[in-house]
Symmetry: C2
Subunit: 638 residues, 2 copies
Amino acid sequence: MSGEQQFQNLSLDPAVQQMLAKAKEKNIPTVWDRYEQMQPQCGFGETGLCCRHCLQGPCRINPFEEGSQTGICGATADVMVARGLDRAIAAGTAAHSGHAKHLAHTLFKMTQGQAKDYKIKDPIKLKKVATRLNIAVDDRDDNDIARDVALAALADFHEKDTPVMWAAGVVTPGRVKVLSDLGIVPKGIDHEVAEIMHRTLYGVDADPVNLLLGGLRCSVADLAGCYMGTDLADILFGTPTPLVTSANLGTLKTQSVNIALHGHNPVLSEMIVKVAEEMKDEAIQAGADRINVVGICCTGNELMERHGIPSCTHSVSQEMALLTGAVDAMIVDYQCIMPSVANVAECMGTKVITTMDICKITGAEHIEVRDETASENARQAIRQAIAVFKTRKNKKTDIPNITNTVVAGFSTESIIAALSKLNADDPLAPLVDNIKSGNIKGVCLFAGCNNVKIPQDINYITMAAKLLKENVLVLATGCGAGSLMRHDFMDPAKTKELCGDGLYAVLNAIGEANGLGGPLPPVLHLGSCVDNSRAVEITVAIANYLGVDINQLPVVASAPEPTSEKAISIGTYAVAAGLPTHIGVVPPVTGSALVTTILTQTVKELTGGYFIVEPDPDKAADTLLAAINERRRGLGLD
Amino acid sequence: MSGEQQFQNLSLDPAVQQMLAKAKEKNIPTVWDRYEQMQPQCGFGETGLCCRHCLQGPCRINPFEEGSQTGICGATADVMVARGLDRAIAAGTAAHSGHAKHLAHTLFKMTQGQAKDYKIKDPIKLKKVATRLNIAVDDRDDNDIARDVALAALADFHEKDTPVMWAAGVVTPGRVKVLSDLGIVPKGIDHEVAEIMHRTLYGVDADPVNLLLGGLRCSVADLAGCYMGTDLADILFGTPTPLVTSANLGTLKTQSVNIALHGHNPVLSEMIVKVAEEMKDEAIQAGADRINVVGICCTGNELMERHGIPSCTHSVSQEMALLTGAVDAMIVDYQCIMPSVANVAECMGTKVITTMDICKITGAEHIEVRDETASENARQAIRQAIAVFKTRKNKKTDIPNITNTVVAGFSTESIIAALSKLNADDPLAPLVDNIKSGNIKGVCLFAGCNNVKIPQDINYITMAAKLLKENVLVLATGCGAGSLMRHDFMDPAKTKELCGDGLYAVLNAIGEANGLGGPLPPVLHLGSCVDNSRAVEITVAIANYLGVDINQLPVVASAPEPTSEKAISIGTYAVAAGLPTHIGVVPPVTGSALVTTILTQTVKELTGGYFIVEPDPDKAADTLLAAINERRRGLGLD
């Protein structure tokens, strides 16, 4: 094996392979090296059979030993596994909703004149969201409406007598009833997180079914956090509309001041994009041709969907961006930022800048960013990047000459707008009719991360390829979107090749009607992880249109390469919403046959959704297709 | 070794030893058996060097391996340990404050006429709390004041611009400044819990110092939850005043319907006590002499301090109550209830009844208790106990003939009232003067649990004995109080024997002045775990009286045998409050020299408090004495 080929078992992205070769040559350890060193991983942790929830432990249960073992307190394997899963759901929920809460504060401060760098970018979305929240919009100033929306958002974190509005208000009426009957409508987002932490304490909940119902309720709070995150970002920064851009490491430019924005929240990154434009001259004075802002992970998706900012790379390959030697500053907010970036950056001369109070990294520089001073903070950070560029400009870089064309920016609103070119009076009709006719067999949402345990992207592209050929409409978010975009699945030039005839016809008709002179891309980029809400919104719109509930639709979800606890909470709310939900990495639940059975079978009787745990992407695609077909039959479709 | 002596290495309580002999004879496994089976415990978990916060893991770091190891993401040992500690603090905070939130709802519903079984028992405390919260009290109806207090309590869970009132309003002004300067004044209790879950997610906070500051802030929210729990329980059920009662397994009675109330929250248990009185005749008709309600763990402490209900046993020996064969029903709310009680109960014919939505136990019966129907629910539960008694009444029981006399019920209010008999105009003067003179060298609060790793009670009694002899005033809460009461440390007959001359003189003077004809007990029982707030209140009162901050006082805290994550959060807020704080079980932090150093040394420069980790109780007592003496010198006292 020569060159980069030896890295094919690590990543399917040729750009990443090139950087892995460089890392090896330069002896810079990456996540794959650390993964190898960690082998064998602890079997107790892998199966969920260890517990550190009290100081009498740690406890673990040997699944291969005879007899009914328990932890020291008497917790069974079932309890241990369910408690662990619940805490993961709580963490995921806290993260998404922390991001949303941040946006709510920014929006509120804006309405108070305290965050002058921010404006209402999309007043139409503002009014749409306000109306859903029963906030008056007629004859009112946008600023006043925005204040009420922000306050409603902040109120959704509190426990109250009424349900979380961003949960109960965004699903079908039938789903509200299903969730209410199960007692899993959340009362307040932070309240649910805290309640999970309480019930998973030593000596509290010791009934695995009760624990799992608690986890389901918390996951519905996670849906609320995600949905709120999307709504508020759209209001502040604009609702995405389709645009053409590019992805992969080739989007870095040797002659430019390269700034990689990494993390999740658009609050700061939007400012950096804006200020970078204004600071162009400073960069030119420093010898650069311009400031080249690129994205990593979901901050990248947020900027891509709204501004066409290129996505440099995603998830497990984040260190690879640094290995090019071309990144002058990696500016991060929070979530999914490997602490190792500080070390790799040091080797490569990149400056890592942290910006949020709750996310500092040893070895990185910290700039205390505030909504009130956001553009000035952005300026500070960019100035640092320019300073690094000055010392870097005459040095060799190793930027893989690989970019992929991406059409991104599919919000619910932009999809409906595109469909309305086919039927202005009834825009959902063309979509629903094609589902009925079988041109579109069903819909699959790909979400989640890459995971070092899986050759990067292999599950995504294997599954998406198969589903597209079977005329399944594929949506993607987060690093799932990142994965597919780096393999041309968002390039309209590939639609014909990748899609089955029925699906192609639909995508082409929409594209032609919208004056694109060709089809939509094979996979629709819905945005970041919180933008899974867009998939929920579309699904709910279809369900309401048909007068059915979500669990009857031929819609499925998949996180083929999940890593973050956020993927667990998202997957769980997909199940609560009624979707067959695939995960391609076995989560730490296999230590409990009961929990595994509940999650993969029993829960179907409760919510209609269920987990499909299948590491083999071929089989996973087949199982999802079978689920789609089962749903089609249920609706009387072929 | 004959009889029970062979169990001395498991528990120092002779009643427990008798039951351990029975368990062995009957081959019923207990927590000590499960602990033995769990040996050796996982060294990674013990040192905090494992992480399951994402699906790329589990990761672990071998502390004995050369080189700088990290998790797969690059998290160092320092980060891993700090993240784990933070999540434990979040869990403890969620539990205490969940309990307080429950009480706030009950109080609010009462004011709305929806929880008719509840009344304002202590209007003086109500007004005291309201005044502290800046709620008007003059010329207002108690019900209206109570409504405002309940709403203020519920509001403290929300993130808001103002600090958590039950935190910032209950410490010294100097302490508020210290906490503010460190950025660790909590904004909302649930908010802080959620923020910890966010920042400990994969790829968020990777700076151990920042993580620990976050943990400290969350722990201050835990103080708020505890304090609120005490305040609201006092309002609803009365502020304790000293009373004489008894403890240990001998408080169970063969001829009575024995009901053991286990858990933490007085909301239901108060109703059971009340209704049990009314249902006496039903018990007599069933052949019993009466209904004998006893407590276990903090539910026991809550009932003991307010009603003199005997405490049956505590913490690690909870299964022993069942082994007597005399408990007809164990009715539990939440926290510290070993799931194993369901199994032991089944062997012994006891019915375990769970009552709270978030705490069910496989094998137990569940009664859905609501504030609105509390007395009816209590009746249901008691009826079950009577039914069990009918089948049990002619069977042999094995109740150890061991009871201990206990004087309990020392609230801040009752202590001040007692002191006012010495100086009506300036009640704190006698206490402070005796501290100044050295009659009282200092104050030590014992809190926390028993832990199966330590021969039950040995650390408590070794340390308390030593400190009392050195004229340290000893306060105790929770299962710490339980431990000391089962060894006669709350029996006034032992005051002379156990205390140094100076301390004895003070306790005797107070007792005599209050017409007791003798001294107060050697150790003052302040109540349950949440009632650590009472120790804070007393400490703050002394500090304010002297015009100094908490970190200058000769006051220390100790959790000699901690188990629950609540003990970790309590210990952490004691450190945040400025107290030298001993723990007798090594928490999972030793995998990080940095974290260990920060918690035991560096933090002293920030808050004045610090952790003392010392498993040897003799050495621990010496270290606390040294800390007390250091503080005395700082104040210019001998």
